[in-house]
């Protein structure tokens, strides 16, 4: 399937291994990525906090660019960041709720020849895997089941709340998709307190201690539940959980050392790719130094 692909900023900035691993797994899942190169940052909630109309206009422009690709054969817009999903869905909710407001925003876009039409479908890779490709199909493509790998899911707030806005209901348990996917890939889901909590990243510059304590506690809870690694669909969570992990350990006063994988990395591993080509070497807590992939995962495939 062809998708209008919005990678977000951080996947091309401080977590290049996310963008890289997405590019690696796409062909293995028959996803054709048409990257929205001219689009801008979603604002991550911060621009909306500063000037709501500005955030809505920037995202309406991204949606309009995606709709051009959809007119050219892409099936929908896809992103790989929980924060993008949440921030963009919030803007979309306002844009779709009011025709006068949408007209007002479109008047700004008109100078560029762009127009946003109500009702774009914008799905995170996680939702796309479950709802468009289907877990049965994903299971068929697994080459190296994640046998004996204990994985702690970590969603990121923006992709699980508020449930009504994000379309989470009994028929679409999007706040359970990570668990379903881990099982599909042959791994073991680790149930722990932090899976749906906040990583603390949004306040890292404002209340650093509280921010790092959030990250440290969540990682610590995953350790206490005997997780081998965590997996997150959000690169901003990854920054606090992995990049800041040494400082988070200091904030909570305990040793941590928990590898945190991006969603496409976990998928890639199960689809048969090697840790190195998935960018595992770029993590602060290197997954390869903590988990012996050659015995726990790779050997199981042989």
């Amino acid at each position: 399937m062809k998708v209008a692909y919005w990678p977000g900023c951080v996947s091309r900035g401080f977590t290049p291994e996310l963008h890289g691993s997405m590019a690696k797994i796409a062909p293995l899942l028959d996803i054709e990525l048409v990257q929205l190169d001219r689009a801008s940052c979603c604002g991550a909630g911060v621009i909306a906090e500063h000037d709501q109309e500005l955030a809505d206009t920037l995202n309406a422009r991204t949606f309009a660019l995606a709709q051009q690709e959809i007119a050219n054969g892409a099936e929908l817009m896809m992103n790989i960041c929980s924060t993008c999903q949440g921030a963009q869905t919030e803007c979309q909710q306002r844009l779709d709720a009011s025709t006068p407001y949408r007209d007002h925003v479109n008047a700004t876009l008109a100078d560029e020849g762009l127009r946003y039409e109500r009702g774009i479908t914008n799905k995170h890779l996680l939702w796309l895997l479950v709802e468009e490709i289907g877990l049965d199909e994903v299971a068929r493509r697994v080459k190296r089941p994640l046998t004996n790998l204990r994985v702690g899911p970590f969603y990121g707030c923006y992709i699980v709340r508020p449930t009504a806005r994000l379309g989470i209901d009994d028929a679409h348990p999007r706040d359970r998709y990570l668990e379903l996917l881990i099982e599909t890939l042959g791994g073991t889901v680790v149930d722990y307190a932090g899976s749906h909590k906040c990583c603390g990243f949004p306040i890292i510059t404002m209340n650093k201690e509280a921010s790092l304590k959030q990250a440290g506690r969540n990682v610590g809870d995953a350790i206490d539940a005997n997780a081998d690694c965590m997996v997150t669909p959000c690169p901003l969570c990854h920054l606090n959980l992995d990049l800041q992990q040494p400082l988070a350990a200091r904030a909570v006063g305990r040793e941590l050392g928990m590898p945190v994988l991006h969603l496409p990395q976990l998928l890639g591993l199960a689809l048969g790719l090697e840790p190195k080509e998935l960018g595992f070497g770029k993590h602060v807590v290197k997954p390869s130094t903590v988990i012996d992939w050659s015995t726990s995962v790779v050997a199981a495939a042989a």
Partner: protein, 352 residues
């Protein structure tokens, strides 16, 4: 009538014994509330179950608890609905979080919730002498704050506030929503003072971590986090309060970063949030983060050239939007609570 199993967390602090779960089988129609179930268990099986309640109609805010791990009013949750969200067919009921337990399902609201409400001076502080008759204000200027007036002080948002979980001094969602009730009220004469006070508090408006738990928890649609964002917007944009917590600076640094680069350039965001790379406030912060920065460089997460140079520049169209919308004198701030959602003719699109 159907049978339901309620698994209630029992705890009496002065007994010295640890908390324990006890199962109670109750017999009620599915449309009856979890509170009805708790009261039946108390009447028929164990008179010592502690629960605070009064109106049974989601008005008094007394019976806030956690049902299946999520905060809710016990009187406002149907048994059949609670069962649908339960694992293994057992409805769990436990006291709210972030507040000490007095007994079983009763938490100490005074110790946390009401103390924080008092913290924000929860009464009107008009300027000058009162008018001869009533204050006259245009109705539209009051509609916006009716959302915060809907609060029934149940504490559900406080229970699950993730910032408060790690920082008990955080003023918190209920109190900050209450603060907006007065900051948004045209009759109040202390808007600046209120905002200054909450922006400078190291545990004030800038300690909210955007987790949306309070929005999800509130049984009355108050959306406390949205009110906190309004407080930030007013503190920064209207009153230009340059707080010591880097809140306003971080916001401006982010906006300017995107205006310049189109995509977020993280290497600039951190120092700029502290006032710039060479700002006295930035230096100790950057030194503290040095191990992290060095590790990121060692892992080739970032290259020195990538961190110092800007690969990506905002396209002219993005710059134009910033000029046209951001630099405009007034902003169109759509408030769905006020306007509502217009009727949609076709199917909704959240799932398609």
């Amino acid at each position: 009538m159907s049978e339901y199993t309620l698994r209630i967390r029992r705890y009496t602090p002065e007994s010295g014994e640890a908390a324990r779960w006890r199962d109670y089988t109750i017999d009620l129609d599915g449309h009856r509330s979890v509170l009805d179930g708790i009261l039946q268990a108390r009447d028929r099986q164990d008179g010592t179950i502690g629960i605070r309640c009064s109106c049974r109609a989601a008005i008094c805010g007394s019976c806030g608890v956690r049902i299946n791990g999520k905060p809710a009013l016990a009187c406002h949750t149907h048994l059949d609905r609670a069962l649908a969200g339960a694992s293994e067919g057992v409805i769990t009921v436990e006291p709210m979080g972030n507040m000490p337990v007095i007994k079983d399902l009763i938490v100490d609201m005074d110790a946390v919730h009401w103390k924080k409400i008092q913290r924000v001076t929860p009464w009107l502080l008009p300027e000058g002498d009162p008018p001869e008759r009533e204050y006259i204000v245009p109705p539209e200027s009051m509609i916006d704050i009716t959302q915060t007036m809907a609060c029934i002080q149940c504490g559900a948002c406080v229970s699950d506030c993730l910032s408060m979980e790690v920082d008990p001094l955080f003023v918190g969602p209920a109190a900050l929503a209450k603060a907006y009730r007065f900051v948004g009220d045209p009759r109040d004469g202390q808007h600046y003072e209120r905002l200054y006070n909450l922006a400078e508090d190291p545990h004030g408006i800038y300690s909210c971590t955007h987790c949306f738990n309070c929005i999800e928890a509130c049984p009355k649609g108050v959306a406390p986090m949205s009110q906190i964002m309004r407080l930030r917007r007013l503190a920064g944009s209207r009153f230009a309060i340059d707080d010591e917590n880097n809140g306003h600076r971080h916001e401006l640094a982010f906006v300017h970063n995107i205006a310049k680069n189109g995509l977020l350039h993280e290497a600039d965001l951190l120092p700029d949030s502290y006032g710039g790379k060479f700002h006295p406030r930035a230096v100790p912060e950057l030194l503290d983060s040095l191990p992290v920065i060095l590790r990121a460089l060692a892992r080739r997460k970032v290259t020195p050239a990538g961190a110092l140079l800007h690969r990506h520049k905002a396209p002219p169209e993005v710059k134009r939007i910033f000029k046209q919308v951001h630099d405009a004198e007034s902003s169109y701030e759509l408030n769905l609570y006020v306007t509502g959602v217009e009727e949609q003719t076709e199917e909704g699109s959240v799932h398609s």
